[in-house]
Structures are given as C-alpha cells and as structure tokens.
Amino acid sequence: MSDTPDEAQLDALIAATAPVLGLAIDPAWQGGIRQHLAISLTQMRLVDEFALPDDAEPAPVFRA
C-alpha cells in the first residue's frame, strides 16, 4: 500500500467509488468522510504490511 493518501487522493477515491456504490454524497459530508477514510487507511496500512502466508485461513465467522 502506498503512503497515506493526501486530501486530493482521498477526494478522488470518494468521487470514484460513490457512483459505483450508488451513494449520493452531499458536499457538506465530504470533510467527514475524508477524515474517516484517512483514519481507516492508516489502520489498513498496519494490517497490510504484516506478511501472512498464502495458507493463512481467514476467520470471517469466528469461533473461539
């Protein structure tokens, strides 16, 4: 994953995905969505940079 995206990249991501998702974004929401995207992408980076083998199975329905 590339470095944390800048504001313009986040705005581009919002603009590209909103129509695909069928979401209409009010301009007033842009700042809040951008802030949360930045936080989530920072968290994603932590997970993404941790190498796991191909056979590491996911736990989508976790059973303890």
Partner: protein, 461 residues
C-alpha cells in the same frame, strides 16, 4: 427495598415475603420517572408490561427463579414485543413493532426478572460516547456533564444511577466495557458465541456480543447464568450447554496465574488507567507482565472489519436515507463502504493468526489484566482525546484497549475501581475462551477485598 439492594437481595426478600415483585417494580418505575429526565438513560419505559409481569409473579402465574422480581432494562437494539427496535436510529424507529422479545429477554423473564424498559444507545452502536443525535445523550451519573460511554451508554448509566440493578447491552468493540469504565459498574462481555444474539439488531456479525451490566459480581453472574444456553436462531451461538458460574464465585483467585498486559496496553494509557491496573495488579500479586503480540495491528484489523461490515449492513439505508443518520455515524459508514475489499479479507486472515498467538499466552497465565479505557469519562460533546501527548479523534480511539480483545472473542469482566471521590474507571479481566468463570471469580475476589466496587454517584442518584 432500598435502591441499593442487589438483585440477589431482592430475590431473597421476595422469597422471604418481606416485599413483593409488584412493590419492587413500582419502586423502580417511580425512581425512573423521578431521575431519568436528568439522565437520559431510558428511551422507553414498559410500565404496563412490568406491572402485569410483577402481578403475575406475585400471584403465581409467572415463573419464579434466580431473578424473581428483579427489574431490568435492555439497550434499545433488543427486540421488545410491541416496540420498534430503534437501535439508536431515527430510521428504525419507523419500523413495525417487534413481534417477539429477543431471546435474552425471554430467558431473563423465565428466571423471574421484570423488564421495565429500553435504554439509550449510540446510533447503530457505532460510537463509544453514549451520545445520540436523535434522543440526546445518556449522561454519566457521576458527572452529568460527562459521557456515559458507548455504545451501551444508557445501560451503564441506568445501572450506575441505581434505576435498575441489571441491564443488558451489546459489545462489538467495547460497548459494554467502555460504559462500565466511565459509569463505574461491572460488565461482562462473554466469549463470542456464548450468549444468543437472536432478536437483537446487528452491527458487525463477526464481532457482535451481548452481555449484562450490574453493580455487583454476584448480580452479574446471576444474569449471565440465566441467559446461557444454545439457540438455533443465532448462527454464531455455541452448542455448548450452559456452564453456570454463580456457585463458583467463592472459589476466589487463589492459585490463579495473573498476567498484566504491557507494551501496547501501557503505552497510550493515561495516569488514571495506569493507576487502576497497578491497583488490581498489586491486589492479585504475584503477577507477571505479558505482551499481547501485535495488539496495535489487532486493533487496526478490528477497526477495518467493523467499518467495512458495518457499511455493508447499512448500505441500502445510506443510499436511500443518508440524511436521516447521525452525521458522525453516516460519514464513518460511507468511508467504510469505500475501502478496498482486499484489506478487509486480510484483516480476517490476521485475526486467525493473532488468535493463535494470544491463546498461547494462556499456557502461562489464567487471566490477563488490561485497562478498559485510556481515560475517565470525557466531557459530552468532546471530539478529540489526548493519548500519549497527541490529540486524536475521540470516537475512533476510546476503544483502543477493548478492541484487540473482542477481536478474538475472549471473555472479559470489566471491574470498576473503588475510587471514592474520583471519576470511575475500570480494568479488564481477560480469560481464555469459555472461561468466564475465571474472570468472575477474580472479580469477586477483588470485590470481596474492597479493591473494586461500583462507586456511589452523587445526589440525587
């Protein structure tokens, strides 16, 4: 009965004939009517239902059991027959009324408990504040200008203010443990899959848990025992038979090996949180330091699973009713919908790896002590939090210590420190899967020694 009475004392008094279920119910309803307008814990009071139930108990027409005549209330994401299940939202309150009660309500009533209402919560459970854009905040009884914590804020506030001895809530990333810490009450987040979620509004299916709040460990155990057991209506609910704990509490903590979570769990803690852990560690010594490997990454993975699964759950509502959401919740969910899918899958892969690493720790310790929250209850309306000298957004950071634990479904008892005069704060007692008994035994031992207790809030509560 005094509002100080525990559930256990209420049951004993009714059994002895010194009071009735009707009298206890009327007292609870009167206290809710008098005090809740200042607190905002309740969104519905089911007075007629409660009176009818109490009357049935007193006349032998309803079951008696371990919770006979004990008033309780539930977070408003539990189905209550006859009420729309609002889940803290404006959108869902226009839904048709629920046709039946949630499984856990049915089980509480089968043990003799009396439902008195539904409790305030953050919209769709996506907050740690106890604030609600539609219903107003549930306030902290220890300081009405502060947060109750979320998302089960009404549950924490109602128990702390002694409006009910027991409340039920949900915990996806910390929503039982955070209000327990901020409001100073005991909370149990059981093992993932232990208690049925049937008839509750979901948030993140692979992380959602339900559990009880109480002002004593004994009451927590009574409620937990009443609710255990398989339920085919929740696909994640275990087939294990009930494993009652109430009779085991007296076994104490003697001989149990205690670990204190270091590293990540100390690095960002405020002074109150550090002091709370040290107090408990001192009481349970000898204790050794343990390190949960990659806890920061675990928290990050929980964050990603939450925001992406939550977005998937709400996508149609975001398409059609986005303007009717709490803006803070809406913006987070929309951002979650826009995240690339491979990262969510990687978070689930990491979850499996992390579980294996943490379970190895339990070869050397029976329980791990960690902070529940990085700080005491913030002021209502606060948007940022200072952690490790840095100002960070509040909602995404209150759960930094709870998320790495619920991420792998471990059972946790949140225990409030007995801190006269100070704002409450709790620590987590974390145990291996299906070993709620160990956490509750340790909690009971700490309670018996006066180390942990639900502090009394100031007047008028």
């Amino acid at each position: 009965m005094s509002e100080r009475a525990t559930a256990g004392e209420i049951v004993a008094a009714i059994a002895a004939g010194t009071t009735t279920a009707r009298a206890v119910t009327e007292a609870a309803l009167a206290r809710i009517a008098a005090l809740d307008p200042r607190l905002g814990a309740f969104t519905d009071v089911t007075a007629a239902r409660a009176r009818a139930r109490a009357e049935a108990i007193d006349t032998g027409k309803a079951p008696r059991g371990a919770l006979t005549g004990v008033p309780f209330a539930v977070k408003n994401l539990f189905d209550i027959a006859g009420l729309p299940t609002r889940a803290g939202s404006a959108i869902n309150r226009a839904h048709p009324p629920a046709m039946a009660d949630a499984t856990l309500i049915t089980r509480m009533e089968a043990a003799g408990a009396v439902l008195v209402g539904a409790l305030n919560m953050g919209e769709y459970a996506y907050d740690f504040t106890g604030e609600n854009a539609h219903d107003g905040p549930s306030r902290n009884p220890h300081d009405l200008s502060r947060m109750s914590g979320g998302s089960s804020g009404g549950s924490g506030a109602a128990v702390a203010a002694r409006l009910v001895p027991i409340a039920l809530g949900s915990d996806t990333n910390g929503s039982i443990r955070v209000p327990s810490s901020f409001c100073g009450v005991f909370g149990l987040k059981p093992t993932y899959g232990r208690l049925s979620r049937a008839g509750s509004f979901p948030f993140v299916a692979s992380l959602d848990h339900l559990g009880p709040f109480a002002r004593s460990v004994g009451d927590l155990a009574l409620a937990y025992d009443a609710m255990q057991g398989p339920d085919d209506h929740d696909p994640a609910c275990t087939a294990r038979p009930a494993e009652p704990v109430a009779a085991l509490l007296q076994a104490g903590a003697e001989g149990l090996r205690i670990g204190i979570a270091g590293g990540y769990f100390r690095a960002n803690a405020g002074l109150d949180a550090i002091a709370a852990v040290e107090t408990v560690a001192m009481a349970l010594r000898p204790a050794r330091n343990v390190e949960l490997p990659e806890a920061a990454r675990a928290r990050a993975a929980a964050y990603i699973i939450t925001t992406t699964e939550g977005a998937a759950l709400h996508l149609d509502r975001l398409r059609e009713r986005a303007g009717d959401f709490d803006p803070d919740v809406r913006d987070r969910l929309i951002a979650g919908a826009m995240l690339p899918a491979p990262f969510a899958a990687r978070a689930q892969k990491f979850r499996r790896w992390y579980r294996a690493q943490v379970l190895r720790l339990f070869d050397t310790v029976d329980a791990i002590i960690a902070p529940a929250t990085p700080c005491v209850a913030p002021k209502l309306g606060a948007k940022t939090l200072t952690i490790d000298g840095r100002e960070v957004p509040l909602r995404p950071n209150i759960g930094i210590y709870t998320q790495p634990i619920s991420f792998i479904g471990l059972p946790v008892v949140a225990v409030p420190l007995a801190r006269p005069g100070g704002l409450p704060i709790a620590v987590q007692i974390i145990t291996p899967p299906w070993r709620e008994d160990l956490g509750l035994r340790i909690a009971h031992a700490l309670e018996s020694r006066g180390v942990v207790a639900a502090p009394t809030p100031p007047a008028p509560f």
